[in-house]
Every structure is written in structure tokens, then in C-alpha cells.
């Protein structure tokens, strides 16, 4: 059953005076099945971020629809969208987006607090997740006291604590060194194996090679996709880079 269905998504930006129009997304259509780990790749300016913002309901499409678990996001009111986002989506950002005024623990609790959950329940939710992500000892620290990789793991914990249907990751390795990147990708892979649905936007081949399916976006459309099948991460890496080379040199659609 598909957990996310994206149909003919179009997004046109108009400049302030309304004269020039930029089409960020032309017509994007794809779906994500429950338990999948999908990577979306594309060059800068290909519309990746716009797509993710629309999926996160932070932005509204010009036309087309987004169905999450059968519910149309584009028609919801802002307050309903915020609640929906809190309950069903988990976010991991390139810049971590942890609030510097909170300890890591409180940052992780944030979505639950906003949902009005009792504190005891939060603690019950947190301990297995913190254990799994190896941040048990860091919970009382403030973001400025820990490394980028540790911050990102806290951000993943924050995304997981609501047990969301879908995790949206926007360039999660973009601000990390290679060791931290590997650790994070391993964590995402583990989550995937435990049944978590993940949608990741990236332009790192390394990151994409951990996914179960890779979509390529070019000029506002889904241009190509690769299924992992039973190949290893290294083999997938090779396939992705071949595809990218082909895209860049203007080769025909495979």
C-alpha cells in the first residue's frame, strides 16, 4: 500500500512584481510504499527543496496533489497542517535545526510537548530511541556543546519520537564530515530495516546508495529511477554515478 502519493505536482514562483515566472516543478508524480527508503537526487536548482517543502506542507503547490496515508495535504488549513505534520511526519534537516535554547533532551521532546503528551510518556518513548542512536549520555547537553554528527543524531531522535509514518530528510549528511555521514547513513539504513518509511533528498551519491530506491529529478520532473534489487551499497553507488554521468552529459533516458 502506498503511504505517499504525489500526483502531477506543479509549482510556479512569481516574482514580486508578477512579471517573471519560474517553474520550479513542472509535473512530478511518484509514490512511496510503506517501509521504503527512497532517495531523491538532482542537481542544485532541480526543484528538490521545493518538492520537499511541499511534501512537508510548508509550501503550497500551484497544482497537483499530495496524499499522505490517503489524506490530501494541500487542502488542509494551517492549524490542521501543523498538527498533521507533528503527528505523521518526522523531519531531519541539513542544518539540524535544533533550538539552541534547549538541551538535546528537550529538543527531542519538543514535538511531543507541542502535542500535549504527559511527561512520563515522553520519557518512555525517549529511552529506546536514545539507546538506539547512542546519545544516552548527551541528553543533558546543549547543541553548542556537541559535534555535528551528535546534533544530527539528536535531530533524528526528534524525528522518530512521534513514531511518524514518514521521515523526510533534507540533505541529512550535507553538514557532516565523512565519518559522521557514514554513521548517520548506517542509522537510517537500520531504521529502514526496522520498517521505517524514509524519504531523503540529497545530491550525495554516497547517501543515496543506502536507499532502496533512487529517484532522479531534472528540470522539475521525475526523470529516472533505480531500484536497488539485491545489489550491495557499492554496486548501487556505481549505478547511481553512472546515471548521474549520463544525466550530466545529456544522454537519453534509460
Amino acid at each position: 500500500m502506498s503511504i505517499l502519493e504525489v500526483n502531477h505536482l506543479q509549482k510556479v514562483y512569481t516574482t514580486r512584481l508578477g512579471s517573471a515566472k519560474v517553474e520550479a516543478l513542472r509535473s512530478v508524480t511518484f509514490s512511496v510504499e510503506e517501509g521504503e527508503f527512497v532517495a531523491i537526487m538532482g542537481e542544485s536548482g532541480s526543484g528538490k527543496t521545493t518538492l520537499l517543502n511541499i511534501l512537508a506542507a510548508l509550501d503550497k503547490p500551484t497544482s497537483g496533489s499530495v496524499l499522505l496515508d490517503g489524506q490530501d495535504l494541500t487542502g488542509l488549513k494551517e492549524s490542521a497542517v501543523a498538527a498533521f505534520r507533528r503527528d505523521n511526519l518526522g523531519f531531519v534537516f541539513q542544518e539540524f535545526n535544533l533550538l539552541d535554547t534547549f538541551t538535546l533532551e528537550d529538543n527531542i521532546y519538543l514535538p511531543l510537548v507541542l502535542a500535549g503528551r504527559p511527561h512520563r510518556e515522553m520519557q518512555q518513548y525517549l529511552s529506546p530511541i536514545a539507546h538506539q542512536l547512542g546519545i544516552n549520555d548527551l541528553l543533558k547537553k546543549y547543541p553548542y556543546e556537541v559535534s555535528g554528527g551528535q546534533k544530527q543524531r539528536a535531530a533524528v531522535a526528534r524525528a522518530l519520537i512521534t513514531h511518524p509514518k514518514l521521515i523526510l530528510a533534507d540533505e541529512p549528511t550535507g553538514a557532516l564530515d565523512s565519518k559522521s555521514s557514514d554513521e548517520l547513513l548506517t542509522i537510517l539504513g537500520d531504521l529502514h530495516r526496522l520498517g521505517q518509511t524514509i524519504l531523503m533528498v540529497t545530491h550525495s551519491v554516497k547517501a543515496a546508495s543506502h536507499a532502496s530506491r533512487v529517484l532522479f529529478i531534472k528540470d522539475g520532473e521525475v526523470f529516472h529511477q533505480i531500484y536497488r534489487g539485491d545489489v550491495t551499497n557499492e554496486q548501487l553507488y556505481q549505478k547511481i554515478s553512472d546515471t548521474l554521468t549520463m544525466l550530466a552529459t545529456g544522454g537519453e533516458r534509460a
Binding site: A83, R86, V113, L114, A115, G116, Y144, R158
Partner: protein, 678 residues
């Protein structure tokens, strides 16, 4: 040079949100200083009776403005520098040397200083006449209406403020040389350590505040108020800073420890963010709170005095004319000396009505439970002299008292009536040291005052006795020898009203003054012992003093309010820049714009209205102190003072709210304006 000018102008224009208020506040300070300086040298002040007090007070006001301006401009300037560090860092990365940057800073500071001083001076010259008119209205005098420029004040103002701005420039250049450019570039990006609660300081702040409040409300004697006032003020200032800087953080930490309270949608973000806000703004908020309190205390007490002046004048001078002169013995009052003086008074002031005269003995000393110690030698033996118990006893004969009040009393020889002012008396007997105890038949609080006592600040008792001679027999009459230490002053008091209003009162001054030698009985301390009070002349002095106080109160209030407004504004702007990022993050993790706005709103409201509320609390506890101080000036209208104080607070509350509203618009413009660009 032209390049620097262009860059500096550009910098000022680009950061107009920071610079325009800075220039404006500088001008206000310059303006107020010029006005006060020009007023203190205005010839008008020399022309009339009540001007002396203002002439003495205005220079003090000037110095208050200068010192305050210096501190305040430094505060604002460092705020601007903090915001501009990035830009300077960028310039230096782009290849400007430290020398270039220093020149840029110099140009920029010259520009802002020049603009502030010029603008302030022009405003000052334009408004000086208005201020003079206001001052004259308050002290009720007529003057001429012509515009003038006071050269000395212009120079004085320019030199003093030039000096302040020079120091600011030097500091800016010093900073450029001391810091390293890359550091400048990154200075805003450094992670901020979470504030630690300083429980010691927080507790100390609360303790000091309670102590100060306790001092203020436990005061009994007005004279005590004078000394306690300064102690209490210092305590309150320290406590306010401690509470806002350490106490607020401690309170937030305490709230965070209460998990059930903290982990609620309404409290979670507010409390956590508040810790940082308070850490950064504690000092500024405490300053606002103190400024507000100062202004409120100053305005409400001087305004009360102004409005209640007529009452106070009537209390202090119940008669149009009062003459007091010391006499060497009671027998003088029957001799021909006395007859000659009375006749002379009749001659000098032919129209006298409501004439009252009496002989009054007075001793000063220290009150005990049931009497007064007069002997200075005896006082030295006491281990501790309680300052607040020092006071006066006036002795009046029953005969004189009945004549004065028009009532009759039945008193035995060993009985007395006691009239209290500024003190209470409870014992059944009263003993003048060395004499027999007198049974107190009745104690009348504030029942009757006549001249001498009303002008006093000390606690005083008036003792009415049927046996004046017997009661005072053991006291020598002070003839300037101080032989025994057990002496009493004896005075003849003569008071009367004159028909025909102010003119006829004033007309009496010169003739009476010219006959001092013939009217007085005794030379004391090398001069004639003679005192003359004419109410109309005192009235001018009264208004000169209290109207002058109120006027200076208003002038300083303007300076303080302008400062408070600017602190609020700068805080709003800096918070706005910091909250932009948080605003975006919170939205991404699932808050609606309305929720975020509500949360930020509640924080900002708390931060801004905390100083006002604490100032209100300070004012409430300062009220008994203010009341006691005003009582010393013969102000006795408590309801009026309550109304005036409450009104001042409400007016300020409204003004404060208006300022908040205006500046919070600037804040939202920053928070949401930048939001669109990302």
C-alpha cells in the same frame, strides 16, 4: 576621505534602524543639557524671590543629565557596535587595514556626533523659551518673552558632549585595533552558553529587596525618613539589578525543574527562551525599572507638593504676619519695654485683625518614655542617643492657650495638656528633666500649631500648664551663656492678619524690617533675636521651591523616559534579529504561525511589563517614605498624594504600553520581513 565619508554615510543609512534612534537620543540629551544650562543663567531667575532655590538646583540637574548621558550613550553605542561587527569584519576581509577601519569609525562617529549635537542644540535653542515659560508658570511669576541664545551654555554643552562623543570614538577605534578581523566576521555566530542560575545572587536580591521594603514601611519619624531614604534607594537599586539579572534566570530554572509545569505546550518554549532573554536583557530591564521608579517618585511627590502647596502654606503660616522675638524674662511682658514695642507695632501696621500673642518657652532634648532629657551633659552620659527621639518641647501657659483657641480648660497645678506633632505620646505623666512629673490630662494630636513649630522638622510637644512659672522654675533662661546646660528659650510671639490681600502684606516688610532694633528685646549670638514671617513672601518662596522641584522633575523625566524608550526599542530590534532563526525552526517542527506568534508575544510582554510592574511595587513601598518626607515640608494631604501617585503610575503605564506597541511593530517587521527572504 571622500570614500570614507561615502562608506560612513552608507553605513548609517543601511543601519538606520540602529542609528536614527541613537542620533535622536543624543540630541535629546544635548537639548536637555542646553535648556537646563541656559535656564540656570537666565536673568529672570535672579529677578525674583523664589529663584534662588532653582538657581542652586539647575546645575545639579545639568550634571545629572551629563553623567546619565555619558553612561547611556556608551550603552547604546556598544549595542550598535555589536550589531555592526560582521560588517566591519567583511570590510577587513575585503582588504581594509586597521588604519582604514579606524578612519571609517572616526568618520562615522564624527557624523553621528555632529548630527546629534547640532540637532540637539537647535532644538534646545528653539525650546528653551518654552521651558522657561513652563518654569515661570509653575513658580507663578511674570517675565518677558524674547528669544535668546545663551553663548556660554552653547559652548558648555558642545564641550561636554563633544567630550563624551570623543570617548566613544576612541573606544570604537580601540576595538578595531584590538580585535582580529576574522573574529569580527564570526562574532555573531558563536554559540551562546546556557545561562546558569546564580542562586546566591538571586537570594541576595530578594533578601535586599525585602529589607529595603521593610525599612521603608517601618519608618515612624519623618527625620528618620531622610536618612533611611538613601539607604533604601541604594538597596532597591542593587536588589533590582540582582533580581533581573540573576533572579529571573533562577526563577526560570526553578520552573524548568518542575516537569509537570515545564513540559506543557504553553510553557515549554516560553520558559526555555526566557532564560536567554533575561540573561541578555536583565541589566537593561533593571535600568528601565529603576528609571521608571525614579521618574515616578520624583513626579508624583513634586506634583503633590505643587498641588498641595496652598494647604502647606496655610498650615505653616496660619497668620499673614508672624513676629517672634526672644525675651530675657517673663517679667519683660509687663514692663514698659513691652508697651513700647506693642505701640510701635500698632504704628507700623495700623490695620491688624485676629491678633494673637503669647509667650512660649522652648527646650530641646531627647524624648524618653515619659519625659524629655534636656541637659546636654546628661545626654553625653547616655550610651546611645537615638537620633529620632531628638525633639522640642514648647511650654505655653493655660491663659495664653485659652486666649489663642477661644476655649476653656480646667487644669490643676500639677496637670498639663499635651499637643503632639510628628510624634505620639502615651505615658500618663510627663517630666521635664529636673522638674516634677505632670499628670497628662489630655493628648491632642496635631491639634494646634503656630508658626515656629510648623516650620520645624523635629518631633515636638506643646505643653499647656496653668503654672508656667512653677513648671519652668528650675530652668535658666538662655541669655547666651549656656551656663548650666538646663536652659530654656523664652519668646514673645505676635501674629496678626492684615486686610487688603497680598499687596498690604508685602507693604509691611520694609517698615518692620527697619525697626528690628527697636522691636527685639535681646541680642543673641551677636545679632538681634528677631524673626519676621510674612505669608505672601513665603508663598513666593514656596512656589519657587516646589514649582522648581517639579520643573526639574519634569525635565529629568523627559531624559529618563527617552532613555527608557530607546532601551526598549533596541531590545526589540536585537530580539527580532535573534528570533528570526528560531521562528523558522519552530515552524518546521510543527508549530503554526499563530502558535509561534502567541508564544513570542507572551515572552515579549513578560519581558517588557516586568519592569513596569516592579516599578509599581517599588513605588507602593516607597509611598510611606515619600509621605514622611513630604510631611517634613508640611504637606499633609494623604488622599491627594495617593491620587497623584496613582495617576502618575497610570499615565506612565499608558505611555509605556504605547512605546511597547510601537517598538513591537518594528520587532515583527524584522521577524516576519526577513522570513520572506529565506
Amino acid at each position: 576621505m571622500k570614500l570614507y565619508l561615502k562608506l560612513a554615510l552608507d553605513g548609517v543609512r543601511k543601519n538606520h534602524r540602529l542609528y536614527f534612534p541613537y542620533i535622536l537620543i543624543g540630541s535629546v540629551m544635548v537639548m536637555m543639557h542646553y535648556i537646563l544650562a541656559a535656564l540656570s543663567s537666565t536673568p529672570m531667575l535672579r529677578q525674583f524671590e523664589g529663584g534662588g532655590f532653582l538657581r542652586a538646583m539647575l546645575p545639579m540637574g545639568m550634571w545629572v543629565v551629563v553623567i546619565f548621558a555619558a553612561f547611556f550613550l556608551f550603552y547604546c553605542n556598544s549595542f550598535i557596535i555589536r550589531q555592526r561587527n560582521r560588517e566591519l569584519g567583511l570590510f577587513s576581509v575585503l582588504g581594509m587595514s586597521r588604519k582604514n577601519l579606524s578612519l571609517l569609525m572616526l568618520t562615522e562617529n564624527l557624523l553621528t556626533a555632529g548630527a546629534s549635537i547640532t540637532l540637539g542644540m537647535l532644538l534646545g535653542i528653539a525650546l528653551e523659551k518654552l521651558a522657561e515659560l513652563g518654569m515661570v508658570r509653575l513658580i507663578a511669576e511674570e517675565i518677558s518673552y524674547e528669544m535668546r541664545i545663551d553663548g556660554i551654555s552653547v559652548i558648555r554643552t558642545a564641550v561636554l558632549f563633544g567630550g563624551i562623543y570623543l570617548l566613544l570614538t576612541l573606544r570604537a577605534i580601540f576595538r578595531v585595533w584590538r580585535t582580529d578581523p576574522l573574529h569580527l566576521l564570526q562574532s555573531t555566530a558563536v554559540g551562546e552558553k546556557p545561562p546558569k542560575a546564580n542562586w546566591l545572587f538571586a537570594g541576595l536580591g530578594a533578601g535586599l529587596l525585602i529589607w529595603a521594603y521593610h525599612l521603608a514601611i517601618s519608618i515612624q519619624q519623618p527625620l528618620e525618613a531622610l536618612t533611611t531614604f538613601f539607604v533604601a534607594v541604594v538597596l532597591v537599586i542593587i536588589a533590582t539589578y540582582l533580581l533581573f539579572i540573576a533572579g529571573s534566570v533562577a526563577l526560570c530554572r526553578l520552573l524548568q525543574r518542575n516537569r509537570r509545569y515545564y513540559y506543557k505546550p504553553n510553557h515549554f518554549i516560553s520558559v526555555a527562551t526566557m532564560v536567554y532573554r533575561m540573561k541578555r536583557n536583565g541589566a537593561g530591564l533593571a535600568s528601565i525599572c529603576i528609571l521608571l521608579t525614579v521618574v515616578l517618585v520624583m513626579l508624583s511627590s513634586t506634583l503633590s507638593l505643587c498641588i498641595g502647596a496652598e494647604d502647606a502654606i496655610l498650615t505653616t503660616y496660619p497668620h499673614d504676619v508672624l513676629i517672634e522675638t526672644h525675651i530675657p524674662s517673663r517679667e519683660q511682658m509687663t514692663g514698659e519695654n513691652y508697651a513700647a514695642r506693642r505701640a510701635l507695632l500698632r504704628e507700623l501696621a495700623p490695620e491688624q485683625v485676629n491678633v494673637q500673642e503669647y509667650v512660649r518657652g522652648s527646650v530641646s532634648g531627647m524624648f524618653t518614655e515619659d519625659g524629655i532629657i534636656i541637659d546636654a551633659g546628661a545626654l553625653e552620659d547616655l550610651s546611645m542617643v537615638v537620633m529620632e527621639n531628638i525633639g522640642m518641647v514648647y511650654i505655653v501657659s493655660q491663659q495664653d492657650f485659652e486666649q489663642l483657641t477661644g476655649r476653656t480648660y480646667t487644669l490643676a497645678a500639677d496637670e498639663c495638656l499635651l499637643l503632639t506633632s510628628r510624634m505620639d505620646y502615651a505615658a500618663p505623666t510627663f517630666t521635664l528633666q529636673g522638674g516634677a512629673p505632670l499628670r497628662v490630662q489630655a493628648v491632642m494630636p496635631d491639634a494646634w500649631q503656630l508658626g515656629a513649630d510648623a516650620m520645624n522638622m523635629f518631633p515636638a510637644l506643646t505643653l499647656v500648664t496653668p503654672d508656667f512659672a512653677g513648671v519652668t522654675a528650675h530652668l535658666a533662661i538662655d541669655d547666651n551663656n549656656y551656663a548650666s546646660g538646663m536652659e530654656m528659650l523664652l519668646a514673645w510671639c505676635y501674629a496678626f492678619d492684615v486686610p487688603g490681600g497680598a499687596e498690604s502684606q508685602l507693604a509691611l516688610y520694609d517698615p518692620l524690617k527697619n525697626h528690628v532694633r527697636d522691636l527685639s528685646f535681646l541680642r543673641r549670638h551677636g545679632g538681634y533675636s528677631f524673626s519676621l514671617s510674612i505669608r505672601e513672601m513665603k508663598r513666593v518662596g514656596f512656589y519657587g521651591t516646589y514649582g522648581g522641584l517639579f520643573f526639574i522633575g519634569i525635565m529629568l523625566s523627559i531624559v529618563f523616559i527617552a532613555a527608557a524608550v530607546l532601551i526598549i526599542y533596541y531590545k526589540q530590534v536585537s530580539e527580532g534579529y535573534e528570533d528570526q532563526k528560531r521562528f523558522a525552526i519552530m515552524q518546521k517542527v510543527g508549530m503554526t504561525k499563530r502558535e509561534i506568534r502567541r508564544s513570542i508575544n507572551s515572552q515579549v510582554l513578560t519581558v517588557f511589563f516586568a519592569p513596569l510592574l516592579l516599578a509599581g511595587l517599588h513605588l507602593t513601598f516607597a509611598f510611606p517614605l515619600m509621605w514622611k518626607l513630604l510631611m517634613m515640608l508640611n504637606f499633609s494631604n494623604m488622599p491627594l498624594m495617593i491620587v497623584v501617585t496613582a495617576c502618575s503610575f497610570v499615565v506612565f503605564g499608558v505611555m509605556y504600553a504605547a512605546v511597547y506597541k510601537m517598538t513591537s511593530n518594528a520587532y515583527y517587521a524584522i521577524v516576519s520581513g526577513k522570513q520572506d527572504n529565506t
